[in-house]
Symmetry: C2
Subunit: 301 residues, 2 copies
Amino acid sequence: MSIVAVGSIALDTIKTPFGQKQEALGGSALYFSAAASFFAPVSLVGVVGEDFPRRDIAFLARRGVDLSGLETVPGRTFRWSGSYAGAMNEATTHATHLNVFEAFRPKLQPHHRRADVLFLGNIDPVLQRDVIAKVDRPRAIGCDTMNFWISGKRAELLRTIRRVDIMFVNDAEARMLSGETNLARAARAIRQMGPRILVIKKGEHGALLFSPSGAFAVPGMPLADVFDPTGAGDSFAGGFMGYLASQGRINDAVLRRAMVYGSAMASLIVERFSTDRLRMLRKPAIRARYRQFRKLTSFPA
Amino acid sequence: MSIVAVGSIALDTIKTPFGQKQEALGGSALYFSAAASFFAPVSLVGVVGEDFPRRDIAFLARRGVDLSGLETVPGRTFRWSGSYAGAMNEATTHATHLNVFEAFRPKLQPHHRRADVLFLGNIDPVLQRDVIAKVDRPRAIGCDTMNFWISGKRAELLRTIRRVDIMFVNDAEARMLSGETNLARAARAIRQMGPRILVIKKGEHGALLFSPSGAFAVPGMPLADVFDPTGAGDSFAGGFMGYLASQGRINDAVLRRAMVYGSAMASLIVERFSTDRLRMLRKPAIRARYRQFRKLTSFPA
């Protein structure tokens, strides 16, 4: 099944204890699409400015990502700069310049409207709903959001969430969205808002799945080298939705495998700076990481 | 195989968002012994004051715990009071009155010296080493510690750790002891200090095992009702060491099962106040929780 992913494309300036990178390719839609492309055909819908280094995304085209929805408009590309310290669980944002992204109105081509799977990056919930309206009965709608919309556009976000099948949030967002401190209760409350399936990402502590079949947990892979957590959450969603799309059906076993493929993608991405790992990644390395998660978590009955 | 557990017995005054309890039975050796007693014969070595409500530990005797090493001396029993808020990952200590525990010198009976498995609660590392010296070649020595000793008696602690087989720390202690922020690196550094086997407890995020066979991770069970985290870490260690003692040998499969039994005990304990769950717990409930961990974490190859 094919995926349409809508979200941000950015140039990130990142500083971590291990180094820094200026204006590296980033953004939720970019990480998502690159990760998902290892599993299923992906179309990216986003916007960049005239200053965008188009040649830098040649690797996406080589990975088969359909870039016909990547619009170039007059102005500068979205820029974000941030840094990570200590255990690197959270970024400190230094600057956010939305630039052309501020006026982003997702434009879907006719072939995008026939997508089987839709992924909505953490853009304005009103735009997320516009996109949902434009796609002909997708088989599954995945949706991300962020603290900015949870507090700033809550009513609109709730209207969007009602139409979503699979919701992705991190633990802080789950607590903020539900008003519950306890994650099991937060999950129950969010699933009552609409999504049958909820994924709570916990950074180095792994991720939780709540579905009609119950809860499933994947711990974080204890990595000795974590260089840059940027894009880990989007790569998780890309691996998850990509694997789902590759299977053509959603059941408990498929969802559990999707969680592990999501975890595998996130854990691979953070071992290099920005998109460096995604550029050189091959399928066997992903399968090997999947097996590492089996070894990390398996125990006898 | 039989276990000797040395550590604190306390009267805890606890406040959580769900209620409070005055002078409830607590202390590391008490939680450990109660949890371990579901798996193997346990002897408790500790000290209490004349004010200690002996009848409150009748449940330990009923569970077969050997209390011949529980000394009563003139004075008041160790008292701790603390509270938990929010996600309840960490206690805020309001008062610590060591009382008779301050002068605690573990006294081992002749039959204690033949213990197969020794567990050292987080007491002064000099006392921990004294106990090690008194036991005739135990098959396995497990050891807990705390920030107070890591910063206050580091050299003594390192001398003790060198003689330990299985070390238990939480994530903050692992970072403090090793000087490494990254947990995989922290684990490597701590294992180089002596212990072949290291368990890092992460509260609601589960636990990590590092052994010669590699890493193993158990996520936390997402519980809707967490009433009181007091004693969770000690109950984890009790379930872990108890299961190990019940098996008579240490290999990768046994260690993995021990991690899950430890997780099961901790997750059961926190669903009630202080030792309330331990008092009414039966083996089938532990086995059921073990199966719940299988369901929570299993995924197809």
